[in-house]
């Protein structure tokens, strides 16, 4: 039986990085994700797997260290929270432009600005719709438990290397701070130099005689060359959208009303669904696990037989735009949210639902 350990989501990220053969972590402390680096420093993986852990002088520096490590085909990652991720956005865009794989964890807090340190989902638009300047997508995955935090590190690197693209784990203060049971999977060793040559033949690992030069850059200067590259990215995104959409449904088979919620909000929403079902109201929930690519098709299919769809988020209503796009006017789309680091209760969601649907 796999070992089960009680740990915080943030600790799960760190332990998973060590156990999944990550080569380097570079970061800068910020609440509510400081336990990631604290755990790494306590575990001292440089003495066991040889993983490098370094506290950079700032988030800008950390993301550029990731850029360097990724150029060499290494599995490198960082983590931060909202204001810190803002500082990393330039680097994220450069990595998307240079087609570099990496995993970046954003444990969101209330904003804008320095905001609060309590849980929020206020970075949906920033990360899913952008995450830096230019025409690109991050692959965005949204954990809802400590186990997800553990599992998504490995999944994230898998996606990052398969598509040579930054992957963002979009978590929040609840998932980061909450302790839950985490099941450990077998340890994966760090990749050897030969493994890297095989998995990342594009990496700058030292040119051997006869091999063309590997060039990693996000600068092209020539519009025609840039456009060809942008269109190549577009084909890559189309493939990601076709193959990687992931979502989880809860009691949707006979549902007449649908909630859409991701991350911690989906957990609270699940309790709201249970409460409504006890009242005889057939509610269901779709939790997008990938935020990019977004489960547009499934939300669209489901909306065709719903009386309404509500997006439940810890922000002012960001994902609801995507829900509306998916629903395409087939039924009314509502929104309920809390902001600033405040968290809704299942009862609040039920009240908002009844108000929106004119139910007693």
């Amino acid at each position: 039986m796999a070992e089960k350990i009680l740990m915080k989501g943030n600790e799960a990220i760190a332990i998973s990085a060590i156990r999944n053969g990550v080569d380097g972590y570079f970061g800068y402390p910020i609440t509510p994700q400081s336990e990631v680096m604290e755990t790494l420093m306590k575990e001292k993986p440089w003495e066991t797997s040889g993983m490098v852990v370094l506290q950079a002088e700032s988030e800008t520096s950390a993301v550029n260290m990731i850029y360097g490590g990724a150029c060499c085909g290494k599995k490198v990652m960082t983590s931060s929270s909202s204001p810190g991720v803002s500082l990393m956005c330039e680097g994220i865009s450069y990595m998307a432009g240079a087609e570099l794989p990496c995993v970046i964890v954003d444990v969101m807090r209330g904003g804008p600005g320095l905001g609060t340190i309590q849980p929020s989902q206020s970075d949906y638009d920033m990360i899913v719709k952008g995450g830096g300047h230019g025409d690109f997508h991050n692959i965005v995955i949204a954990p809802a438990s400590a186990q997800d935090m553990y599992d998504f590190v490995d999944w994230g690197f898998d996606l990052a290397f398969r598509y040579r693209n930054p992957v963002i784990i979009l978590a929040d203060g609840i998932i980061g701070q909450m302790m839950e049971k985490v099941e450990m999977h077998p340890v994966k060793p760090r990749r050897t130099a030969e493994d890297i040559l095989r998995d990342a033949p594009w990496a700058t690992t030292g040119k051997t005689a006869g091999r063309p030069r590997n060039i990693i850059t996000s600068l092209s200067l020539d519009s025609d060359i840039q456009e060809v590259f942008n269109q190549k990215l577009s084909r890559k995104y189309a493939e990601i959208e076709a193959k990687e959409v992931k979502y989880i449904e809860y009691l949707t088979e006979d549902a007449e009303y649908l909630f859409v919620a991701f991350g911690c909000a989906s957990r609270i929403c699940e309790a709201a669904v249970d409460e409504l079902r006890q009242d005889g109201i057939k509610a269901g929930l779709l939790r997008p696990v990938t935020l990019y690519p977004y489960p547009f098709t499934r939300v669209s299919e489901l909306s065709a037989r719903m009386k309404s769809v509500m997006s439940i988020e810890l922000n002012l209503g960001q994902m609801v735009t995507d829900v509306r796009l998916a629903v395409e006017g087939r039924c009314p789309v509502g929104f309920y949210g809390r902001q600033g680091g405040n968290i809704f209760t299942p009862e609040e969601i039920v009240d908002a639902f009844k108000k929106f649907n004119n139910l007693k």
Binding site: K4, I5, L6, P32, T116, I117, Q118, G173, I174, Q177, M178, M179, E180, K181, C264, R267, I268, E270, A271, D274, G341, I343, F344, T345, P346, E347
Partner: protein
């Protein structure tokens, strides 16, 4: 079985660790658990609380507003959480420092004088384990054998000599509960 518990008191009383030992003990019993602390710009001497949910099934929301049990260790927490106990639930509190005792009649109310218990065991730091013992006496949600296992998981190996001291506090705590209102 599902038990939703709020543990609340001052920072430094071992509120978060008590929740952790309880949660780990439940894992040893193959239960599902969530441990969700209130966190914010807290400071020493400020309030601290943690919501622990133990269940036979997968836990949905880690955020609840009504609790089966409230374990209350200071007056601020009494003011905030007495009203959040579900009817028929349990309120366990340490009377020292409490100026307004609980008034509800629709819940079980019990006291644990954990400072005395900890002093009796010989180390004031096991205060929280005395409270945990009292709780487990009233709500035996986890078997003692699994509490011992959970305790071992929570105490770093270099402090292993403290395990028996903590166990003593749990046992003495369970023997020192005073039931004020029983329903």
């Amino acid at each position: 079985m599902k038990e939703e518990i709020i543990i609340a008191g001052f920072g430094g009383q071992g509120v978060l660790s008590m929740g952790k030992v309880l949660a780990y003990s439940a894992i040893m019993q193959d239960m599902e658990v969530t441990w969700m602390p209130s966190y914010g710009p807290e400071m020493r001497g400020g309030t601290a609380n943690v919501c622990v949910i133990l269940s036979d099934k997968k836990i949905g929301s880690p955020i609840v507003t009504k609790y089966d049990t409230a374990i209350i260790l200071n007056q601020q927490s009494m003011d905030k959480f007495e009203k959040t106990v579900k009817a028929g639930g349990l309120l366990l509190y340490d009377p020292s420092g409490i100026t307004r005792h609980p008034e509800r009649k629709d819940i079980t109310v019990a006291q644990i004088n954990a400072i005395d218990v900890a002093a009796g065991v010989g180390n004031s730091k096991v205060y929280n384990m005395a409270v945990l013992g009292a709780f487990l006496r009233l709500r035996p949600v986890v078997e003692m054998e699994n509490v011992r296992k959970g305790l071992k998981k929570c105490i770093p190996a270099r402090y292993s000599e403290l395990i028996s001291l903590n166990e003593d506090a749990i046992v003495k705590g369970s023997e020192s509960v005073l039931i004020i209102n029983e329903i």
